[in-house]
């Protein structure tokens, strides 16, 4: 059987794609559809699934716990601007030809690199009210530190501060650094001639020039934040105290893998997906417009 050149290329294309495509089909795209279907059922894994229409979704809207955990999720996301400002500040300080800058960059990146169960256990220990380093430091300056992870008031701020430590010198700083290096030096020279001070130069040149990066980091952080909060809460607080650190993704985990409410969990997951989708659309829609380099 003789194939044309075009046919041979098409056949090869199919074959090259096949392994990845099969995996993609089985473990990603079909599961997306399956969970959508599942969200219209009530299923505890042991009795046959029962079709319930939109009941899961209407129950979700009336589910006080869901709204509280949604509030927690958004509350934790309030750290995003602070994290970004920190990264931008670090990037501006580092955007200089200095000896040893690579060493600093390596150190700043370490928390991001190793973030995971190991650092969550570490922070649990740092936050120990009696013997942890943080309250020890606070005692040294005469402050009686709170109970941190055991306190309804302080558990969320504690997780946010840990998040700041994790991300401030990581990916976002590198992205900002790259953006800063793309700013033409002539702009600063012209501003110098006009007698602008550092603060004016920052707001008139740096800030607008890095705005596409800011936008990119912001939307990506929102997307990540909406889905986040499970792992650290699972390791550090088990979602407590009194649900104060349970996020939407933690709630999904509980419904699906602790209480066997598969359909309800799928419904929450799809609501989360919808929120992420809106963010992504905003990113695509407005992301291109502010790019000006």
């Amino acid at each position: 059987m003789a194939l044309t050149r075009k046919g041979r290329i098409a056949l090869a294309g199919g074959l090259f794609l096949l392994p990845n495509f099969l995996g993609f089909l089985i473990f990603t795209s079909l599961p997306v559809l399956a969970s959508l279907v599942l969200s219209f059922f009530a299923w505890d894994l042991f009795t046959p699934p029962k079709f319930v229409g939109l009941h899961n979704f209407s129950a979700l809207m009336k589910d006080g716990a869901f709204w509280y955990y949604g509030y927690n999720t958004v509350f934790l996301m309030l750290a995003i601007p602070a994290n970004m400002l920190g990264s931008l500040f670090l990037a501006t300080v580092m955007n200089r030809k200095l000896r040893g800058i690579v060493i600093f960059r390596t150190i700043y990146f370490l928390p991001t690199i190793v973030a995971g169960v190991g650092t969550y256990i570490l922070w649990r220990w740092l936050y120990n009210p009696d013997y942890g380093l943080i309250n020890t430091v606070l005692r040294a300056v005469g402050i009686a530190g709170p109970e941190w992870l055991q306190s309804v008031t302080w558990a969320k701020p504690a997780l946010m501060f840990m998040g700041f430590w994790t991300v401030v010198g990581g990916y976002n700083m590198i992205l900002y650094l790259a953006a800063l290096q793309g700013v033409p030096p002539e702009l600063y020279e012209a501003a110098d001639i006009d007698g602008a001070n550092g603060w004016q130069k920052f707001w008139a040149i740096t800030w607008p020039m890095v705005s596409p990066t800011t936008f990119f980091i912001f939307t990506m952080s929102l997307i990540g934040g909406l889905q986040g909060g499970f792992e650290q809460a699972f390791v550090m607080t088990r979602g407590g105290p009194a649900g104060a650190t349970t996020t939407v993704s933690y709630y999904i985990y509980n419904h699906a893998f602790v209480w066997n409410h598969m359909g309800y969990a799928a419904a929450i997951a799809w609501v989360l997906f919808a929120a992420v989708f809106v963010m992504t659309l905003l990113n695509w829609r407005f992301g291109g417009r502010v790019v000006h380099y």
């Binding site: 392994p19 430590w165 990916y171 792992e231 699906a256 997951a269 992504t280």
Partner: protein, 278 residues
């Protein structure tokens, strides 16, 4: 003067970021009881009264009854991360070649499908995937740990971006010389893409070394656990043994620090490559 100020700021931030690690190291070598002395002097709290490196060996000893313990978890993590990385880089590279170079019906629609799923939260696919593993009787198996994470739209996307920028002249010359598509892939595309392949390898390896959610769902037995899960059950059993917990955590993150320092160049370039939003 300005230089000095810069170094001062950089140094201060560096200290802030390193301090938790110093605390980790210091705790990990203290005698077990010493961590429970409340102090109002941070420097004193950070300095071990005596240094006990044997804590590290003790982590292995006290976890041994947990399905083999720390050594076993270490091997599991290494094995899972290595196999998943190999699988992901290979299948992604092949798919990226097809997407960037080989024209076939439906190609661009399929690629759009790949792009579309990149924003789907993990929780959405996790539930059906868990049920699939349950149906297959694959709970507590290496199959469940390794195979589902092996296929990545992200890796395919990253490599495709890179392949698109490789000039086509070389391939045309090779085609005229009678070189087949597979040869072109292995002798031209792959060697020219070493930076992107290195980046993806490092990212994937590190991501899977730390992977938590999926193993948490599909594993129940201690002997199958990867490091993060093992460490977590260790925490559950010995939640006041902070010296050992810190030693264990430190041993878990050490390989990542090494991989990062050795592969830093690829890492930094990879971040910038990944941010070139399509």
């Amino acid at each position: 003067m300005k230089k000095l100020l810069t170094y001062l700021i950089l140094g201060f931030v560096g200290l802030f970021l390193l301090l938790p690690f110093l605390w980790m190291l210091s705790t990990s070598v203290k005698p077990a009881g010493d961590v429970f002395t409340s102090s109002d002097n941070p420097l004193q709290a950070l300095r071990p009264r005596e240094v006990r490196w044997q804590n590290y060996a003790k982590v292995y000893d006290v976890t041994r009854h947990m399905g083999g313990g720390f050594a076993r978890w270490y091997l599991n993590s290494l094995l899972v991360a290595a196999v998943v990385t190999l699988g992901q880089v290979t299948t992604s590279a092949c798919a990226a070649y097809a997407f960037s170079r080989l024209r076939f019906p439906g190609r661009d629609k399929i690629f759009l499908g790949y792009l579309g799923t990149m924003m789907v939260p993990g929780a959405v696919t996790m539930i059906p995937n868990f049920m699939l593993m349950r149906q297959l009787g694959a709970v507590d198996s290496y199959f469940a740990l390794m195979v589902p994470p092996m296929f990545s739209a992200y890796g395919t996307f990253l490599l495709r971006q890179f392949f698109m920028n490789i000039p086509r002249d070389l391939e045309e010359a090779a085609t005229i010389d009678g070189c087949g598509l597979f040869r072109i892939f292995t002798t031209i595309i792959l060697p020219l893409s070493k930076p992107a392949l290195a980046t993806l390898t490092i990212f994937t390896f590190m991501g899977n070394w730390q992977s938590f959610y999926w193993p948490l769902i599909v594993l129940t037995q201690d002997s199958m656990k990867t490091l993060p899960l093992g460490l977590l059950s260790f925490l559950g059993l010995y939640n006041t043994q902070w010296t050992l917990l810190m030693a264990g955590s430190l041993m878990m993150i050490l390989p990542m620090i090494l991989v990062f320092i050795l592969g830093q160049k690829w890492f930094i370039s990879g971040i910038q490559l990944g941010a070139l939003k399509g």
